[in-house]
Amino acid sequence: MMRPINLLWLAASFLVTLALLALWQWIANHGYVSKVFLPGPDRAFAALTRDYSSGKLFTEVGQTVLRMALGWLVASAIGIGLGAAIGISPFARTWIAPTFEFIRPLPASAIAPVAIVFLGMTDNMILLLIAFGSVWPMLLTTIHGFSNVHPRLDEVARVLRLNRFERVYKIALPAAMPDILGGLRLGLTIALILAVVGEMITVQGGLGSRILLAARGFRAPDIFAGVIMLGLIGLATNVALTALERRLLRWQPAPAT
């Protein structure tokens, strides 16, 4: 369904990426930055292919993706569930929402020491960190979505005598879906960041600990290989979410181009 104009844009952005890679290679080849700190893309990709053939790459990427996904899913369940409950109840909004506004601006990494005290240097600590950090955008967008259902739809529901469950499931949830999906997307970005932060703290596998260890060992190509993989994970998850969004929101009028 891709129109020619979109293909053209895709080709253009691909060319820009290639040009940046070439610039990176050129800077590295001419030694403007010491090779110890900045390997060329050739050496970074060599490190990647080496780890790929040894299978180490899959293990590390798998660990990071699994942590990110689990933490994000926990946060999604809590964020959407709690957000819906608060969003449909004006009472809860009045009493609970201000508290959230107080906790929300806390940087998630600041609670890492607290999480370590309770859970130690474990996977559960990383999960808690991810869930705590990424729950906020989901919670707030879900509350916003559920509390901003058009009053006319509420009246339609009353006139049709829908019961409470039907009102939530058939009216409020789909009405809030665009907001919820926006929150899921923001949460996913935060989940990836915190998965890496968590892994750098515990140093028990995953791309985060790989990057940290590589930096301590002055293995610059390995650092860059890890960063490239993180970029690819971010890209892939974003593409997946965009596809989900397209599918769930196909009723929305296409944005004007």
Binding site: E155, V156, R158, V159, L160, K170, I171, A175, W251, Q252
Partner: protein, 275 residues
């Protein structure tokens, strides 16, 4: 609009009810109805009986409480004084056989549901068995001329089509009463005239009672058996005007009748007093 055998049978069954129309057995009865928000009086001492199968239009300058009166009838809001009875019982909450056509169809339709699915909502609400829904939906879509657009989302439809869809969803409720709040106000003149005739056909086919709020005086005369003229501050009934024009009505000939023109002059003079 094709007259099916089904509709014919309904008309036949409804014949005694239609005969009762002249006797005007009140279906909805308002006695001394008033509404205040704090110290602000919106409606004052509204007394009117609406008969089964009657088409009543409400006109009046803006701020006279037309829409508020419709909402009280629907049970969405409660009067502060007086009684509203529907079929002899106090009207305290929306009834399943009273449908409302809102003016802002774009907000009243579910944008994430297709035309069929929007109609389905009313059937789901009435717990219609899944097996029956498909035929009912197809029938209703045909009735409002949207058969070819069953799988379109509201955002893919014109304003006139969206309002037709909302009307179809209301008909899915099998209503005895349809309340319409300036339903054609946002539509262009040609579409409005077409929909006026369609709503008249639907109402006469199924013998529903219609309560129609509008600011278009000619529309009120064209559609109504009776026009309620409200005056503002506070909103109260200024006059109840019978419309003795023959049915079925015709966009050209009815609007040229001396009776129509005389009523038009009368209502314009009435509204001008408040300009």
């Amino acid at each position: 609009m094709t007259a099916t055998l089904h509709q014919f049978e309904r008309n036949f069954e409804d014949a005694p009810r239609a005969a009762a129309k002249t006797g005007r057995k009140p279906l909805i009865s308002l006695k001394g109805v008033g509404l205040s928000f704090g110290s602000h009086e919106v409606l004052q001492d509204i007394n009117v009986d609406i008969g089964e199968g009657e088409f009543v239009c409400v006109i009046g300058p803006s701020g006279c409480g037309k829409t508020t009166l419709l909402r009280i009838l629907s049970g969405l809001i409660q009067a502060s004084r007086g009684t509203v009875s529907y079929r002899g019982k106090a009207q305290t909450e929306p009834a399943s056989d009273i449908a409302i056509v809102f003016q802002d169809y774009a907000n009243a339709l579910l944008p994430w549901r297709t035309a069929s699915q929007n109609i389905s909502l009313a059937l789901e609400a009435a717990a219609t068995p899944r097996a029956e829904r498909k035929d009912r939906i197809a029938h209703l879509l045909e009735k409002v001329g949207l058969s070819k657009h069953a799988d379109k989302y509201p955002s893919e439809m014109s304003g006139g089509m969206q309002q037709r869809l909302q009307i179809a969803r209301c008909l899915a409720q099998n209503p005895s009463v349809i309340l319409m709040d300036e339903p054609f106000g946002a539509l262009d003149a040609m579409t409005r005239q077409k929909l006026q005739d369609e709503i008249l056909a639907i109402v006469s086919e199924s013998n529903v009672t219609a309560f129609f709020v509008t600011h278009d005086l000619e529309e009120a005369i064209y559609l109504a058996d009776r026009v309620i003229a409200l005056e503002p501050n506070p909103g109260r009934i200024a006059e109840l005007i019978d419309v003795p024009l023959a049915r079925p009505r015709n966009q050209l000939t009815t609007r040229e009748e001396p009776e129509f023109l005389a009523l038009r002059r009368k209502l314009f003079d009435f509204v001008l007093r408040y300009e």
